[in-house]
């Protein structure tokens, strides 16, 4: 498998002025993501995770270092649209990323910008709307939809570009539990069925636990990069940088501290229930 995203020694500073010094947000990040991966990026506020995300489709350019997406250097202005087509982005607030007053026209927005001919556009818009299960709402106004539905429309708008990779910057932070479930299910399906690489920036631990790989950031550096099981079994370390672990992991960890014989890498409720059952049996 080839790397879709290659980040080499990425540094980024927000420029200050005469009174305020430059603020270094990213302090040397090396990260490779393979085509088809499902990666969560965790970190508390100010860890640099959103800044990192904005580098992947050239909203921000590195102060030093390199970001390559599908072999394209993000600093290459000539290929900017090429790049943004390959790496789509979904933001936190669904209201602030929907452009049109009609759902299907919003999904078509990127295609209109790219000058895709009508027949091709029609086909891609319909396919994308069906992929996120919003086809029946294609003629609605976004203001009639719930947060989760709006976010799925935003995802459809990105999928219509047929990207290789989608970066989602806390897409569920403003949604209710129902909306969060819908969005997570949609993202997972895109990864599984279309093989689209997913980079999910989140601060929900249970969402990170559903990914295959978790990258933990703290103070502008990558501090952990492993499977969710391996990351969350380092409970103390995770807590020391101001993050939580999923509730069941924490329960298992407390039980272990209390002297129970229970595995330290529990992530799901089922695993936890099984482990506790075994504990009682033995």
């Amino acid at each position: 498998m080839s790397n879709i995203i290659e980040i080499k020694d990425l540094h980024f500073s927000y420029k200050g002025d005469e009174e305020t010094p430059d603020v270094e947000v990213l302090k040397g990040i090396d990260l490779n993501i393979e085509q088809g991966e499902f990666v969560a990026v965790l970190g508390h506020n100010g860890s640099g995770k959103s800044t990192l995300a904005k580098h992947i489709n050239a909203i921000l350019l590195p102060t030093s270092g390199k970001v390559l997406v599908d072999g394209i250097d993000t600093a290459d202005e000539q290929r900017l649209f090429d790049l943004r087509q390959r790496a789509g982005m979904v933001f936190q607030n669904p209201d602030n990323q929907i452009v049109s007053s009609v759902v299907e026209e919003d999904v078509a927005f990127a295609l209109e910008n790219l000058g895709v001919p009508y027949e091709e556009m029609r086909r891609r818009v319909d396919e994308s709307l069906k992929a996120v299960n919003m086809y029946d709402y294609r003629l609605h106004s976004p203001s009639q939809l719930s947060g989760g539905q709006k976010q799925r429309i935003a995802i459809a708008g990105v999928i219509a570009m047929e990207p290789k990779c989608i970066i989602l910057d806390e897409p569920t932070a403003m949604l209710d539990p129902q909306g969060r479930r819908e969005v997570m299910a949609t993202i997972k399906r895109m990864n599984k069925e279309k093989g689209i690489t997913i980079v999910l920036i989140t601060h929900y631990m249970d969402e990170a636990a559903q990914c295959r790989r978790v990258v933990v950031m703290d103070k502008g550096r990558v501090v952990m990069d492993d499977s969710p099981k391996a990351v969350f079994s380092r409970v103390e370390e995770v807590k020391s940088i101001g993050l939580d672990v999923p509730q069941v992991t924490e329960l298992a960890w407390e039980l272990r501290k209390a002297g129970c014989d229970i595995p330290g890498d529990i992530l799901t409720e089922e695993e936890c229930a099984d482990a506790i059952e075994r504990l009682f049996r033995s």
């Binding site: 489709n57 909203i59 982005m89 607030n93 049109s100 007053s101 299907e104 026209e105 209109e112």
Partner: protein, 268 residues
């Protein structure tokens, strides 16, 4: 409390008038306005009235809605009529009381003005009643597109209009929330004198503006991420294709226009 504000007063429907191409509807409305203003004889207005009544009947929108659209302009109508009634001095005197006198010409002219304005309002309401704001914006963009050659930012204007339309419901909802939040902290918004109330509006407008700027910033980034690059080389999902019915409707309008002109020439 702000939920029932609608902009443009669009009544969705499937009538013939609804289904007409919005570009044609705009052109026909312009012709209609010309027709009302070129005719100088009361018979021209009769032609206009027939046209309006026909169009309203075809739109299947209750007449009540059209009368409602005239209502806000009633004071204006009354003043126009009164000025014409009392200030036109030519013709036979019909009525005299101290220094006021009403002449035949004055009566004719004020009636003429009232009918003209009422027809004008009803006809242009028909356009916004039967065309969604987004379709209107789209049609305006296409009708003005020849101006692009003169470097007039047609696409940018249309984009601004459609984004404004898109954000109206969002901002209404937000204003509602801000009002509730300020009320919860003891702000008195609907009490006090006009001046106090105006001052209290500041506590609503400031947060609304701040959040609008944040929204604008995020929206701009989101648009860039989806390869927005101005109007150059854009294609459109919404296709406007003129159907035979559009040409028929346009032809009917032109015939009415010609009739009105003929009448005013013949009866001069």
């Amino acid at each position: 409390m702000l939920r029932d504000i609608t902009i443009g007063q669009f009544f969705p429907g499937e009538s013939l008038i609804h289904r007409l191409d919005p570009r044609f509807k705009i052109v026909m409305t312009l012709l209609y306005i010309l027709m009302l203003f070129t005719g100088s004889h009361i018979l021209c207005l009769a032609v206009g009235t027939v046209y309006t009544v026909m169009a309203i009947a075809l739109s299947k929108i209750p007449l009540k809605m059209f009368l409602k659209s005239v209502k806000p302009l009633l004071p204006f109508l009354v003043i126009t009529a009164a000025i014409n009634l009392f200030l036109v001095n030519t013709g036979d005197v019909l009525f005299r009381w101290r220094f006021l006198k009403i002449t035949e010409d004055g009566l004719n002219i004020s009636l003429f003005m009232i009918i003209r304005i009422v027809l004008l309002i009803m006809g242009s309401s028909l356009l916004t009643y039967t065309t969604s704001p987004i379709a209107l914006t789209d049609a305006i963009e296409r009708l003005l597109s020849p101006l692009k050659k003169l470097h007039f930012p047609v696409h940018e204007l249309a984009m601004m209009m459609s984004i404004a339309l898109r954000f109206i419901p969002t901002l209404i909802e937000e204003t509602d929330k801000i009002i509730s939040a300020q009320k919860a902290r003891g702000a008195e918004i609907d009490t006090g004198s006009m001046i106090t109330r105006a001052k209290n509006m500041v506590s609503i407008l400031v947060p609304l503006f701040v959040s609008s700027f944040r929204r604008a910033d995020e929206l701009a980034t989101a648009m860039e991420c989806r390869c927005y690059n101005g109007g150059e080389g854009r294609t459109r999902l919404r296709q406007l294709k003129a159907a035979p019915r559009d040409f028929i409707a346009l032809a009917v309008t032109i015939i009415f226009y010609a009739a009105a002109i003929t009448v005013s020439i013949l009866l001069k």
